[in-house]
Amino acid sequence: MDVPDNRAAVEGAYDDLLRRSLSKIKGDLARLIYVASTRDYNTGKYHHDGLAARFQAEIAGQALEMAHREIFHRLAECSLRELVGEVEIYVSSSRQSREEILEVWQKLEPYRVALPVDVNVAAAQLFVSNVKLALAILCRRQERQAMEEPAS
């Protein structure tokens, strides 16, 4: 397959991924975690059964990588206020308890694993810093709510 054909195929797979999977996930942070979870820790290659069945495995992998980078850049460029909103959406839509997620995310920092490969170091550092701050802000909101509840 030559380069233009390959690019068209990757874009087709990318559109398919957006339409069928990513559009159903609420919030960019959740999308980032989802796409990062399709990447093999040992090889760094992306795999998605449905997408690989409709396209070739390699094309599907490239489409996933493209989506991963795009979502990461959107998140790295958003303001801290917006990122707090993203973390809030992620925490509220999860099945685990809010307290548990906030605590574990602060301790383990799992969002560090969700970074695309070879991404700009400073942009990655900004993203990690902003998530850390967003978690601290949400924890504080939670503490304040807990303090206000017994009083009311």
Partner: protein, 185 residues
């Protein structure tokens, strides 16, 4: 008597200045990114365009201040300092790499222009001085007051990069032209 007091004050001030510079230098070293191979550096993405505006702007700081939480304000200042220092180190490493490439290309060139070389060298030295000042100033005051200087450094870095790229393209074109000429003979 006044002379000796002035001398003591001068020495104290000098020591303070050295301490501040050392602190900035040590902090910058602390955030030094792990050694990367030239290939890894080439494959790494360039810094996103809005990065400097975002890191050195006060918009996020205003949001954090509005929360009225000292702990979060301290965390914000600490985190932004770290991010800004990573950017300084990364951009300064990138410029040093550009200059190494330029030196390599200049060695192959047979008709170097003195004015262009002086201009590139002076811009490089200015940038290195600005990065040094930024490293220390970020440590002391944080990045929020240094947006102007950071934007200046970014623009100048881009300028040096563009000059080097066009210089290298010129050297390549000339060497290909002379190779074609030799082949035609």
């Amino acid at each position: 008597m006044i002379g000796s007091w002035s001398l003591i004050a001068g020495v104290v001030l000098l020591l303070l200045l050295v301490a501040v510079v050392m602190k900035g230098w040590l902090a910058a070293r602390q955030f030094e990114e792990p050694t990367r191979t030239p290939r890894e550096l080439e494959e790494m993405e360039t810094c996103p365009e809005g990065f400097v505006s975002k890191t050195f702007s006060r918009a996020d700081w205003e949001f954090v201040r509005g929360l009225k939480a000292e702990r979060i304000e301290r965390l914000f200042q600490q985190e932004r300092k770290r991010v800004a220092l990573v950017w300084v180190r990364q951009t300064s490493a990138m410029i040093r790499k550009v200059m190494r490439e330029h030196a390599r290309a200049a060695r192959q060139s047979h008709n170097l222009e003195f004015a262009t070389e002086v201009s590139i060298l002076s811009q490089f030295l200015t940038l290195m001085a600005v990065f040094g000042i930024l490293s220390v100033a970020i440590q002391i005051a944080g990045p929020l007051w240094l947006g102007g200087l950071a934007h200046f450094a970014q623009r100048l870095s881009q300028q040096v990069r563009t000059m080097q790229e066009s210089f290298q393209a010129g050297v390549l074109a000339k060497s290909q032209g002379s190779a074609n000429g030799l082949a035609a003979r």
